[in-house]
Symmetry: C2
Subunit: 236 residues, 2 copies
DNA sequence: AAGGCCCCGTGCGGTTCCGTACTCTTTGGG
DNA sequence: CCCAAAGAGTACGGAACCGCACGGGGCCTT
C-alpha cells in the first residue's frame, strides 16, 4: 500500500495518470524489488501481478511448442508488465525475466481488472502501451527475418540503453546469444566488430555504449519505429 | 446496414455474440467485398473501418523505417481486422492486404469505438482476439529467427489453409517470397523439396496441400501455438 | 499464329551463420 | 593462494541463403 502518490512518477505510465486515476490505483500498489534473474511470468502460467517498473529492465521471452526461445521485447519504466491481464487472456504467453534489477510498483491481477473496470481512461492508457509493445514485437520479427547478428545486437543495445539510463550495463555474450537466439561465438564476433568501429567497448560481463549514432546507423530501420509510436500515443 | 442477424454467424467472432451485443452491432455493420490485392490499411494512415471477414484471407504486413517488409500474420473469418482501433492507437501500424478474396462485414471506426464503449463484453472479446493475434506475431518472430525457409513455408501453408477452407489456393512463388522476405528462388527450392516428400503439389499460380501432418512435422514448433491460444479463449 | 509477359527452374560465386571444440583469461570461493 | 568455474577469443568444415542472372515454358493479347 502506498500513500505517497509521488512514487507513481517513477513509472512513466503511472506518471501520466489524472488525479482521480492516481487516487484509484495508489492504494492497490505495493513496492516490489525486481531481483536479477527473477522470473516474473512463466509461459502458460496464470498471472498474479502486474508490475510497473521504476527502474531496471525486463526481458520478454517467447517460446514455441518445441521450447525454442527468443526475446521479443524489453520493458522498463516506460511501460508495464502485464499486458495479457488487460487483454483478458488470463495466462502469460511469454516468459518474463528481470534482466537488470530495479524497483517496481506492483498490483494484483484482480485489483488491476477492477481498476480498468472502474476507469476507462486507465484501461485506455494501458491498452495504448499494449499497442506500442506489439509494434516492438513486430519490429523484432522483421529484424529476425532480415538483419545480420551485428544489426540485431546494435538494435538490442539501443533498446537496452533507453531503459538503463546509463552508458554502461552488465551483460555476457552467452546471455545475449540466448536472447537473440544465435551462437555465443556469433555474439563475440559481432561485439568485436562493433568495438572495432568504436561504437561500444566490450568488457568482461559488461558493455559500454560509446556512440549511439553509429549503432543507430547499423541497426537499420528496425530501431525507432516502436519508440516513435510510444511518443505519439503516450504523453510525456 | 444489416437487418438479418444471421449473417453475423459467418464470422467466428461475431457468431459468439450475445443477443444484446448482436443487436447492438448489427445496425452498424455493412456488407463489403474484399477484392484481391485491395489494401485495407496503409502503414501510419488513419483507420476508417474495421473488417469482420466472412471468407477470404488478409495478410498483415509490417514495415520498418527503411521499408523492409515482412508478413507478421494472417487474419480470416476467425478474427477481425482493426486491432489498433480497440487499442486506441488511431493509426495502422501495419499494412493489410487482401490475399484471398471474400466477403466481409465492416463497421466504421467511430461506431466500433462507440460499440466497445457501450458493451464491455464486446470489447473483451475483441481484446482477446488481439491477444491471440499478438501470439501469432510472436511466433512469427521466433520462426523468422530460427527456422529455415522450408519450415517457414510449411507454417505459412498451414495457416493459410486454416483460413482458406480448401486444399488448394492460389499463390505465386514471387508473392510468397515477399511475404516471408526471402529470395524468390529460395521459395522455389523449398516448394520443390516439399513436393518431393508429397506434402504439397506445386502448380503454376497455385498450390495443393496433400498432407497436413507432414507440414506440421516440418513446421517445427511455431505452428499451433497461436491456434491453441485461440481455442482456449474464444468459444467455438 | 505470333509476340510478349509472367512464372518458375536452375546455376554460380560469395557471405553469413551454424555446430563443435579447444584455449586462455578472469574471477570468486575454499 | 590455489583451483574450479565461468566468460571470452579463435578455428574449421559445412549448411543455408544471398544477389544476380539466364533460359524455358505457359498463357494472354493482338
Amino acid at each position: 500500500m502506498l500513500d505517497d502518490t509521488k512514487a507513481l512518477a517513477g513509472n512513466m505510465l503511472l506518471a501520466t495518470l489524472s488525479r482521480a486515476d492516481a487516487a484509484l490505483v495508489s492504494p492497490w500498489l505495493e513496492n516490489f524489488e525486481m531481483i536479477l534473474q527473477k522470473e516474473l511470468y512463466q509461459t502458460h502460467q496464470s498471472i498474479d501481478f502486474a508490475y510497473f517498473p521504476l527502474g531496471g529492465i525486463c526481458s520478454v521471452i517467447a517460446e514455441n511448442a518445441q521450447g525454442t526461445r527468443v526475446e521479443t521485447g524489453l520493458i522498463g519504466r516506460e511501460g508495464f508488465v502485464g499486458i495479457p491481464i488487460i487483454l483478458f487472456a488470463e495466462k502469460a504467453s511469454s516468459r518474463i525475466i528481470v534482466q537488470a534489477p530495479g524497483r517496481a510498483l506492483r498490483m494484483s491481477s484482480t485489483k488491476l481488472l477492477e481498476a480498468i473496470e472502474l476507469s476507462r481512461s486507465f484501461h485506455k492508457l494501458l491498452l495504448q502501451f499494449a499497442h506500442v509493445f506489439s509494434v516492438q514485437v513486430t519490429q523484432a520479427a522483421i529484424s529476425n527475418a532480415h538483419n545480420t547478428i551485428q544489426q540485431r545486437v546494435a538494435r538490442w543495445f539501443l533498446m537496452c540503453q533507453d531503459r538503463a539510463d546509463a552508458r554502461e550495463f552488465p551483460m555476457t555474450h552467452e546471455f545475449l546469444s540466448k536472447m537473440i537466439d544465435v551462437r555465443r561465438a556469433g555474439v563475440t564476433d559481432a561485439l568485436a566488430s562493433l568495438e572495432g568501429i568504436y561504437a561500444i567497448k566490450a568488457l568482461r560481463n559488461r558493455v559500454i555504449i560509446l556512440d549511439r549514432s553509429i549503432l543507430e546507423e547499423i541497426a537499420g530501420g528496425s530501431y525507432s519505429v516502436a519508440e516513435k509510436e510510444y511518443a505519439r500515443l503516450i504523453p510525456a
